[in-house]
Each structure stands twice: as structure tokens, then as C-alpha cells.
């Protein structure tokens, strides 16, 4: 069905179901409970980030996972996507359709130019070139060099770009929503469902982003299973044989680079559609690094890994960073006081502002013990529970790359 084999279809259905039920699955604790306050992740702003960054890393994985070319400047495409979308809001109206279309096109154009130049080199030199381009674009955006050149604003420098009341908004009708909307369907409006102590929020913006992620995921499965995807894996494996087999590696690489740049642009456009402002910091090199970490953490070259990687990092960033010393004290209040203080003092550097430390340890553990990322952990767990089933699978699907 849908042109997928049964294994991929199962994976696809699982992803669809997870996206659909995320507002429920991510809110396992009652709102008022202390666990709920700390660990519930089912609020729209965070769920949007899960799927948007999932989409971004799915695209990044088409480049890095299949061809092995590590782009260290992917956040630049996310950034230009966001700027393009906010400009559409400023010039046309808050309808997100033109914004998202333009963000993909603009990111595509940028990636054609950057890819054409950066792909003249491979390995570490390619990474450095993409990093250099991204940092140049960040600097240009941060100082609004283009705007200054023409005596206007383009990126609005360190203030960041947002929509003002005196912006033209040529297509804005009377009484049209003043927040991003899809033909009147406002992105930030939500339906809240209260059951007992639980509260589940179903927001339009989240579901739209999730729809895009599902489409992006579907396209990535098709690319992974296509002759084009096979060529990309061949490039990773042996470029000499590739060219002596009569295949020109350059256009294949460029196509992969542009596709993944357009995914990033779409993600940037969606970020802006959820919250119509953006700034240069979205293009900073640490943002690019985060994308790489997400991909490696989840499992490079796997279909589902990037989504998990993005989810884990966004979860840590938003949940672990909220835990403060009071919350820690309340957890360990049952202990004698000296012990409580000891435990809290040990744990404290790893939470709150120190969440990067937790991420660092997790990343190290994954790279050392699970080079295949969290997906490998999943496979190991599956293998423990159903060894027999696994061997049956291996027989039927042995020609497929790992999912």
C-alpha cells in the first residue's frame, strides 16, 4: 500500500499514530501532580518543536545518512526559511500557504548555490565549507548587512524580524485573523479535553506541523527505497567505483543536498508559521551542531532515528532544563536531610541550566555503546523479546537497509 513494503508501511503507520496521539501520550501524568508539572511534554509549543525538528533532521539524514556528507551548516537553511516566511507575513497576509511555499523555494535556491560550491570538496573540507557558509549567513543576518546596503531592513539584525502593524500586508482582508492561519484556521487555537485530573491539548498548529512531518517522513522512505537512494548509499560506499561505473556523482550529491536544504527550509517556515518572528540566532553554528547531534543520537541512516533524536533533545532541552533545586528537594524529601542534600547537590549540576551536561553524557554513552544510535537500542530490546520473530524478519527483508 502507498508504494511501501509491509515493514515500511508498519513503520509509517506507527509514526502517524504517534503523531496523532502525541497530545495524549506525552501527558501521562495529571496536571496538578508534581510529576505532571515536571515531566508532561504534551503542550503545543513543545510538541510543535518535536515534529518540526523531526522534519528538519529527517531531511538532514537524507544527506548525512545516505551519502555520508556531514553538513555542518544546515541551520542556515532553517534560518532563511524562517526569514522568508516572516517576510510573506509582512508583505502579504498571515496566511501560511505563501509563507511555507516561499520558505521552501528560498532554502532550495540557497542550497543550490552553497551545495554547488561546498560539494567541490568531500569529507572534513566539505563540513568546514558548509560551516563557513552558515556562519557568513549568520553574520550577514545578525548585522543586517543586506538591509543596510539598500537602506532598508531585511533581517532586522539583532532585534530579529517580526510583523508590525504598519507592515503593508497587501492581501490582508477585513477582519482576517491577526495570527498565522490556514485560510482562517488559526494556528494557535486549540481544543482542550479534560478527563479527571488530566488535560489534553489538541492544537491546530501542532497537527499541521505533524502533517508536514508525516509527509516528509513518507517522502524520505520513498527516497531511501528508490534507485536514487541506492546511488546515494553507493556514493558513501565507494566514489571511485561509482564514477568508473558510468555515474556522475556530482548531480546526485547536489540533488541530495538541495532536497535536505528544502526540508530545512520547510521546517524554518513552519517554525515561523507557529510563531511569526525569527532572528539570526536560528542560523548560529550551535544550531547546526544540534542538528548533527540529533541525527547521531537517533541513529544516522535509519528512517526513524532522526525523529527520535530530535524528540529526545527537545525533551531534554525543555523538560530537564526546567527542573530546579526546589523540585529536586521535593523529590528526595523522604530521605534524611543530610542525604537529601547530598543527592540534590550531586544531581543539581545535571538539571536546569546544566541540561547540556546530561545531554553530553547521554551523547557519549550512545556514541560509545550504541554507534547505531537510539534505534540500535530499540533493535537490541526487540531482539531480546522476540528473537525468533526477528530471524523470520531477517529472512524476508534481508535486502533492505536497516530501518
Amino acid at each position: 500500500m502507498l508504494g511501501l513494503n509491509s515493514r515500511d508501511l508498519r513503520l509509517f503507520v506507527i509514526v502517524c499514530a504517534l503523531c496523532l496521539l502525541a497530545p495524549i501520550l506525552l501527558n501521562p501524568f495529571p496536571v496538578a501532580s508534581s510529576l505532571g508539572e515536571s515531566f508532561n511534554a504534551g503542550y503545543p509549543a513543545l510538541m510543535q518543536r518535536f515534529v518540526i525538528f523531526g522534519l528538519l533532521v529527517i531531511g538532514f539524514n537524507i544527506l548525512f545518512g545516505l551519502t555520508g556528507y556531514l553538513s555542518f551548516g544546515h541551520a542556515a537553511f532553517l534560518g532563511v526559511g524562517s526569514f522568508a516566511a516572516v517576510w510573506m507575513f509582512k508583505l502579504l497576509s498571515y496566511n501560511i500557504v505563501p509563507a511555507i511555499i516561499l520558505s521552501v523555494i528560498v532554502a532550495g535556491l540557497f542550497s543550490v548555490v552553497i551545495g554547488y560550491i561546498a560539494l567541490r570538496r568531500s569529507g572534513i573540507y566539505f563540513s568546514i565549507l558548509t560551516l563557513a557558509f552558515a556562519q557568513m549567513m549568520y553574520s550577514i543576518a545578525y548585522s543586517d548587512l543586506v538591509g543596510k546596503m539598500f537602506g532598508t531592513i531585511v533581517t532586522n539584525g539583532e532585534t530579529g524580524l517580526q510583523v508590525y502593524n504598519d507592515d503593508p500586508q497587501f492581501l490582508m482582508g477585513e477582519g482576517a485573523p491577526t495570527v498565522p492561519h490556514l485560510f482562517g484556521l488559526e494556528m494557535n487555537s486549540a481544543f482542550t479535553w479534560k478527563v479527571g485530573g488530566w488535560e489534553f491539548i489538541f492544537q491546530n498548529g501542532y497537527y499541521l506541523s505533524a502533517l508536514f512531518m508525516i509527509l516528509g517522513f513518507y517522502l524520505s522512505i520513498r527516497i531511501f527505497r528508490s534507485p536514487f537512494g541506492m546511488m546515494l548509499r553507493a556514493i558513501k560506499s565507494n566514489q571511485t567505483r561509482m564514477s568508473y561505473t558510468g555515474l556522475d556523482t556530482k548531480p546526485y550529491m547536489l540533488a541530495a543536498f538541495v532536497i535536505s536544504g528544502m526540508y530545512a527550509g520547510l521546517a524554518g517556515g513552519l517554525l515561523a508559521a507557529m510563531d511569526p518572528l525569527t532572528g539570526a540566532e536560528r542560523m548560529f553554528w550551535t544550531a547546526s551542531g544540534e542538528i548533527v547531534v540529533m541525527a547521531i543520537l537517533g541513529g544516522v541512516g535509519t528512517l526513524l532515528g532522526p525523529v527520535f533524536g530530535a524528540g529526545v533533545i527537545k525533551y531534554l532541552e525543555n523538560i530537564v532544563s526546567k527542573i530546579n533545586s526546589d523540585i529536586l528537594h521535593s523529590w528526595f524529601a523522604f530521605m534524611p536531610e543530610w542525604m537529601e542534600n547530598l543527592v540534590v547537590n550531586i544531581l543539581y549540576p545535571f538539571v536546569g541550566k546544566g541540561w547540556h551536561l546530561t545531554l553530553g553524557l547521554l551523547f557519549m554513552a550512545v556514541v560509545i555503546f550504541l554507534p547505531g544510535g537510539l534505534m540500535q537500542l530499540g533493535e537490541k530490546i526487540l531482539a531480546l523479546f522476540g528473537r525468533k520473530k526477528k530471524s523470520d524478519d531477517a529472512k524476508t527483508g534481508a535486502t533492505e537497509p536497516a530501518e
Binding site: R222, R225, S226, M230, M231, K236, L247
Partner: protein, 252 residues
């Protein structure tokens, strides 16, 4: 007029004359071996033939077209396939994928944006790939990852990858280098089968006399960058100049 015509090729690396006035003609539908002692310029000549090196002077014509200055993938698309000294295969891919890729290259050319269709729906390509794997007796290994195979099997796979494209000229660079005796014999047998079944023109650069004399129909002996003699194997064996340059040291 041969399918491959090398005329007056010179190549210098600094003070070293690697190739001096090389003239060579490979006739269609023959196996032509190029032999010579170490440093005779065999590999340089091969690199000139595949466009990796551009000679200082002279011409290399394949089927009436110059190959000089063309990129490797263009030369392949002209109909020249190359087997390397150490097998160059897609080590991370399965054997079956390894042979499917050249099929796609042959059918779709150097680049085709072919990103939505599933590989599994390409029945023709799969049939071609399966047929060639059966030809080289590797059908049972189709799902193995290429890197996990023995050296001999990798060589076999590389040849299958070249043959499936039906090349007009197959260049082999020491196809048995570093192989065990049994693997060498197998490779010779494989090449002989290819020769009888498909009638592909081959140019072999080789060290191993056993391989050369059991396969070649014509032999060119290179020494110090220039062809000494070109003749049929029977005459090469006893040729005094060749003995002096090369066979004098080797026990044949």
C-alpha cells in the same frame, strides 16, 4: 583498425620518461595482454587509457573518438569498463545492489533523478542483475554484504559489475594480483568463460605469466616505457629481446 588505438603517447613525470612513444592497437574481439617488468609503465598506460592521466603528447582513440580529457564516467558510458588491481566494489551494499547499480548506469545514463519509484519495481534491472550473478556463480550470495566476502569473490563481483554493462572493452589491471593459487585459477577460468560466452574485447595488464599465456591472443611487452615487441604468445615466449628485458629473470 583496432577498437582502441594508442598513437605516439608520451608521458613524463619530472625527469622520468614513464611512457615514450607508445603505439598500441587492440583489435576488436581479442584478448590483448600488456606485460612488462616493474616500472615498465604498465599502470601509467592504463591510467592514460581511462582518462586519469593526460599524456604530454599522442592520442588515444576508442572507436574513433578520443578519450583524452574525459571524465571516468564519460569513458564508461562510451563502453569501457575497468577492473582494478584491488577490487573496487560498493563494500557496504549487498551483492545484489552492487550489480544493480551498473545496470541502472547503463540504462539511465550518468544521472537520473529517480527518487520516488521503488527499486523493487524495476523488474528488468533485477532480472539482468540476477542473470549476471548466476553467470559468475554468485546467485546464492546475493544478499550478502559485499565487504564480508573473500578476495576472490570480490573480484568475481567486480567483474560481474563490469560485464553486466556489456562493455565494448574491458580493461583489467592485474586481475589476479595478491590472490591465492586457487583463486587465480578460478579467475582465469572465469575470464575464459566470459571470453567464449560473450566475446568481449579485453585488455589485460598482468604480471603473472600463467594468466597471460592462458588467456591472451596478442601480447605487447613494455620495457622502460616503450613497447619492445608485439606478437602472439607462442612467439613472445622465445623472443630474445623479451627474455633479455623480462623473462630472463622469471622462470616460466
Amino acid at each position: 583498425m583496432g577498437i582502441l588505438e594508442v598513437k605516439g603517447v608520451n608521458k613524463r613525470f619530472g625527469g622520468l620518461q614513464a611512457l615514450g612513444d607508445v603505439n598500441l592497437s587492440v583489435a576488436e574481439n581479442t584478448v590483448h595482454a600488456i606485460i612488462g617488468p616493474n616500472g615498465a609503465g604498465k599502470s601509467t598506460l592504463l591510467n592514460v587509457l581511462v582518462g586519469k592521466l593526460i599524456p604530454d603528447s599522442g592520442s588515444v582513440m576508442f572507436d574513433g573518438q578520443s578519450v583524452l580529457g574525459r571524465k571516468p564516467h564519460e569513458i564508461n558510458q562510451m563502453g569501457i569498463s575497468r577492473v582494478f588491481q584491488t577490487p573496487e566494489i560498493f563494500a557496504d551494499l549487498s551483492v545484489f545492489e552492487n550489480v544493480m547499480i551498473p545496470c541502472f548506469a547503463k540504462r539511465d545514463g550518468a544521472f537520473r533523478m529517480h527518487a520516488i519509484e521503488s527499486t523493487h519495481h524495476e523488474k528488468d534491472i533485477a532480472e539482468q542483475a540476477m542473470a549476471i550473478l548466476e553467470d559468475v556463480n554468485m546467485a546464492d550470495k546475493r544478499d550478502m554484504i559485499a565487504s564480508s566476502m573473500s578476495r576472490g569473490d570480490k573480484r568475481r563481483l567486480e567483474m560481474a559489475m563490469c560485464l553486466v554493462q556489456d562493455p565494448r572493452l574491458l580493461l583489467l589491471d592485474e586481475p589476479t594480483a595478491g590472490m591465492a593459487r586457487a583463486d587465480t585459477e578460478n579467475t582465469i577460468q572465469l575470464l575464459k568463460d566470459i571470453r567464449t560466452k560473450r566475446g568481449i574485447t579485453m585488455a589485460i595488464i598482468e604480471h603473472d605469466m600463467n594468466v597471460v599465456f592462458s588467456l591472451a591472443e596478442r601480447i605487447t611487452v613494455l620495457a622502460q616505457g616503450t613497447p619492445l615487441v608485439e606478437d602472439v604468445p607462442e612467439k613472445i615466449k622465445g623472443h630474445p629481446k623479451v627474455r633479455e628485458a623480462y623473462l630472463g629473470e622469471a622462470q616460466v
